[in-house]
């Protein structure tokens, strides 16, 4: 077992680090303050292939692996959590399901421009009445001739309004079992922006990742060509769950990056900040806090990288992804909170990055499956 990165991954990590420091860092504070989607950064990432890292070259991607993609989200998130999640949602939640379940025609039509970054992707599962409990979903799609007619709404959709291509999960059938209980069957659809009947509702005003565009999607008699059904009819729930397994690795990488960024800033600040005639890093409390933070970050990193490798080599990786996300998200929240504490009053101001990072960290415990959902996934595997 070798924990060292090989040359390819080390060089890619350095590329992502350089890009994040030069391109994402200068805009991070402004992006947070103004809540404006960092379109210029996304265009630069498109130019350098960051929007299709793990997609094979024949589909317009870079032909790298999930670990390379994870390191990209991680390095971006060290500087700007918003930039990290844009890449994560696009890659894991839109490119990945088309790659896995799409027909050759769907791959050519949608995956190629997505992987090249010419189009931005999003994924829509959550509804006002259906978060963790997907059975509560109301959005439905009814086949009418050669088209599905979509009605309903989705909420909290990352990259909403900015994205060109949306994977939408909708109810296509309600089955009744022998005892008379009703069960919804879902299907997945590829929906293009500007399709008649597809509009955007309110933009969410969020605590963190404020430059990320989070919108409500509204479908009113929105007609989708039958060939835009992704995977088999009625298999949408499985597609969504499998997609989220991959998505959780991306969010785990985002959480890891935020934690690493906050740790580094805490190290820098405590070295510079003087109290009682010496750097506060000279006090044992600071040293022990930093030691605890660094140890937890390293543990999270190993789980996140392990999950990325599992995605590359295993058919299923739900448990690895759940553990990585659970751990990295909780570490991100703890480390950013401690980083703020080590900054003292300065850490509570928006002058310092750790204040933003603490707000950004919180969402990683919530979206793409809350920490509680991750515990359900992990324990279900233990007790099966």
């Amino acid at each position: 077992m070798d924990f060292a990165l090989d040359k390819k991954h080390e060089m890619a990590r350095k590329l992502f680090e350089d890009f994040a420091v030069n391109e994402a860092r200068p805009l991070a504070q402004e992006t947070d303050e103004t809540e404006v989607f960092p379109r210029a950064t996304v265009e630069k990432m498109q130019k350098y292939g960051f929007m299709g890292i793990a997609v094979p070259k024949e589909y317009g991607g870079q032909g790298c692996d999930p670990l390379t993609y994870v390191m990209c989200v991680e390095e971006l998130s060290k500087e700007c959590g918003t930039t990290g999640v844009i890449v994560s949602a696009h890659s894991s939640l839109c490119c990945d399901p088309i790659m896995t379940y799409g027909t050759e025609e769907q791959k050519q039509k949608y995956l190629v421009p997505l992987a090249k970054g010419e189009k931005l992707g999003a994924f829509a599962l959550t509804e006002p009445g259906a978060g963790t409990d997907a059975q509560g979903a109301q959005t439905k799609a009814v086949l009418d001739g050669d088209e599905y007619v979509l009605n309903g709404s989705k909420c909290f959709i990352t990259n909403g309004k900015e994205a060109d291509v949306y994977i939408v999960i909708a109810v296509t059938e309600i089955q009744t079992d022998a005892r008379g209980r009703k069960k919804k069957r879902f299907s997945a659809f590829i929906v293009e922006k500007d399709t008649p009947g597809f509009t955007f509702g309110t933009k969410e005003k969020k605590m963190g990742i404020r430059g990320s565009s989070t919108y409500e999607l509204i479908f009113q008699d929105c007609r989708i060509p039958k060939e835009n059904l992704l995977g088999a009819p009625g298999k949408g729930f499985g597609i969504a769950m499998h997609t989220l397994d991959g998505g959780r690795i991306g969010i785990a990488a985002q959480a890891l990056g935020i934690a690493e960024g906050a740790l580094q800033r805490a190290i820098d600040f405590t070295n510079e900040r003087k109290q009682f005639g010496r750097s506060i890093s000279a006090f044992q409390n600071t040293q022990f806090q930093l030691a605890n933070m660094a140890t937890k970050v390293e543990a999270a990193k190993l789980l996140v990288y392990k999950a990325a490798m599992a995605k590359a080599t295993q058919k299923t990786y739900s448990v690895e992804a759940a553990m990585a996300k659970l751990c990295a998200a909780e570490v991100a929240m703890e480390v950013t909170t401690k980083a703020v504490q080590l900054h003292g009053g300065y850490g509570y101001t928006r002058e310092y990055d750790v204040e933003r990072m603490m707000r950004d960290a919180k969402i990683t415990e919530i979206y793409e499956g809350t920490s509680e959902v991750q515990r359900m996934v992990i324990s279900a595997n233990l007790l099966k």
Binding site: K8, M11, L15, D18, Y48, G49, Q62, T68
Partner: protein, 261 residues
């Protein structure tokens, strides 16, 4: 069209300078980067490639570790990398270096050679023009803009408060300034490809039409008598017990006493 870009791996001064006890640079202990002027030259070549489909070859002379900058250049879009490395080439000054690189270039079919203006570790700006002299081709140095027109290049050459527009027929050599452009990043896929590709490695035996007496330390007319780090400024004086007016008077007195004002 074939473009050869000569690049050099240099110490990254951001990482601090480390000296050996004899005063020479301890390169192994320092972070290394592609020389900034060379990187701008590479970017200029890659832009010509983007427009015309030219083939871009990168060439470097150095320790085996210098392969890293070739891989980086290939990950940015260069097609091929050539490493010139041999013990007998060590300790070369600009004369021996340019002789060596010219010997390597004689093996290649080139229309345009681009080098950086100068390397940040030596700052001589001699190697590029010397290579052109060895090869008997025209040089345009200090390029701040490069355009290809048919079988010629049109170059803006920086010159004090103005620039000269020069046209030269290819083959020729251009030395590039780091403010020529903003070099592109590598791409992730480019990195994976670059590390899978073979790098051509040449030694003394592969150099064409050169004499051993012009190579390495023995072939270098320049002898370094002594090297030293920059003279460090003192930490200054810290006064924290003065009020604002007192502080102003104190500083003014100091400035007068040291004849600054």
């Amino acid at each position: 069209m074939n473009i050869v870009v000569c690049i050099k791996q240099v110490p990254d001064t951001k990482g601090g300078v480390v000296f050996n006890p004899d005063g020479t640079l301890n390169r192994a202990a320092m972070l290394a980067i592609m020389n900034p002027d060379d990187k701008a030259g590479l970017e200029a070549a890659l832009r010509i490639k983007d427009e015309t489909g030219a083939k871009v070859t990168v060439l470097t002379m150095g320790l085996p570790k210098a392969e890293e900058v070739l891989r980086e250049a290939m990950a940015m879009g260069a097609d091929e990398g050539i490493l010139v490395t041999d013990r007998v080439l060590g300790g070369a000054d600009t004369w021996a270096t340019s002789t060596t690189i010219a010997g390597a270039l004689r093996n290649l079919d080139y229309d345009l050679i681009i080098t950086g203006r100068q390397a940040i570790d030596g700052d001589t700006a001699q190697v590029g023009p010397q290579i052109a002299e060895h090869l008997g081709i025209a040089t345009i140095s200090y390029a701040q803009n490069i355009k290809v027109e048919g079988d010629s290049v049109v170059v803006e050459r920086q010159f004090d408060d103005r620039y000269h527009v020069l046209k030269a027929k290819m083959p020729c050599l251009i030395t590039a300034l780091s403010d020529l452009n903003e070099p592109r990043y590598m791409t992730p896929g480019g990195i994976f490809d670059a590390l899978d590709k073979e790098i051509t490695v040449w030694g003394r035996a592969d150099l064409k039409d050169i004499d051993d007496s012009n190579l390495g330390l023995n072939g270098s007319p320049t002898k370094i008598a002594r090297a030293s780090d920059k003279v460090r400024k003192s930490d200054g004086e810290l006064k924290s017990d003065l009020g604002a007016d007192e502080a102003v008077s104190y500083i003014m007195d100091k400035l007068v006493a040291t004849q600054i004002i």
